[in-house]
Symmetry: C2
Subunit: 188 residues, 2 copies
């Protein structure tokens, strides 16, 4: 019951080092990434999509070549605990999601997933043991075709210097950068 | 001229392992994170903001406890090559940006930054040596107060099961999840 090239315990150590603590979501995410790979042919150049910014992107970044910074991982927050790994050429891929119908036997896991009790009342040892035992058994798998707008989400195009902040910015954004126009309020 | 706890060469190796190749942007990002820390008191619990999804998030994830998945790193794409590290309690922090006025002595670096020639014509060895020599000398530093909407960007709230896809989703999003309403087109 490995997670890619790691044993369960090795992966938990990797999660602690990168994510800061043994987050249940990242560990489940590990099983999800592992499951997705089992349905993919070897040799594909893969991109990844995470449907939530919570935890799952870190499992993807730990177990695939895809990171946020290299652009091979896209995060779109639709709030579902699901990911897709897909061929970056044509969008063919595999989606893995948490199948809520399969959570019933795992009481502590289900309680955690649906946030049914406060974190401090959570039985972390039981939760982690249920995650380990359940593995990818709580997941579903689908073949998918990732939409073109996800594949082409990255902006290209020329850069200029914003006349207001004097920093480099994508000229496609208009005469000023999006921070200076106030479209995105970042600082007071 | 270290980058946090790494020598330059050690950091380049870390970048290759995580990001897939020795991306100029991640290496510059390393100097930027290092510079930000020099202006911050020890002991603050830090969150991070990246103003671009390109490269910089990976430098932050390699050199700080902040990752996309643990929520301590927020990426807002205003297309500026800048980051902020800030006190997660009150938003007080330090912003580091590439000061375009300081790029002139570094011809290959400036050419790369403004994408003035195609990647295949780029002199990668010269570019990396200019990055190493320039270090954080091409950067500016500002004290900032990060906006409340950035600090509170994460969604909390109750989860339910979407009646259409039967997956878990944040009930605040409405009667269906954002994927099923079509607000975000992810798959064909």
């Amino acid at each position: 019951m490995n997670i890619r090239n790691y044993t369960f315990d090795e992966f938990v150590e990797r999660v602690k080092a990168f994510h800061g603590y043994e987050a249940p979501g990242v560990i489940i995410g590990g099983f999800m990434v592992d499951l997705a790979y089992r349905f993919l042919p070897e040799g594909w150049l893969l991109d990844a999509l995470s449907e939530t910014p919570k935890c799952l992107p870190d499992a993807i970044q730990l177990l695939t070549p895809c990171t946020v910074g290299n652009g091979w991982l896209t995060v779109v927050n639709v709030g579902r605990y699901a990911l897709a790994l897909y061929n970056k050429e044509n969008g063919d891929g595999v989606r893995v999601f948490v199948d809520t119908d399969k959570l019933d036997p795992w009481t502590e896991l289900k309680t955690w997933f649906f946030k049914l009790k406060p974190k401090k009342e959570q039985d972390t040892a039981l939760l982690l043991s249920q995650i380990k035992e359940a593995g990818s058994g709580i997941c579903g798998v689908q073949k998918v075709q990732v939409a073109t707008q996800v594949i082409q989400r990255r902006r290209r195009g020329s850069l200029g210097v914003c006349p207001k902040c004097h920093e480099g910015y994508p000229l496609d954004d208009g005469p000023l950068c999006l921070a200076c126009t106030g479209k995105e309020l970042l600082y007071f």
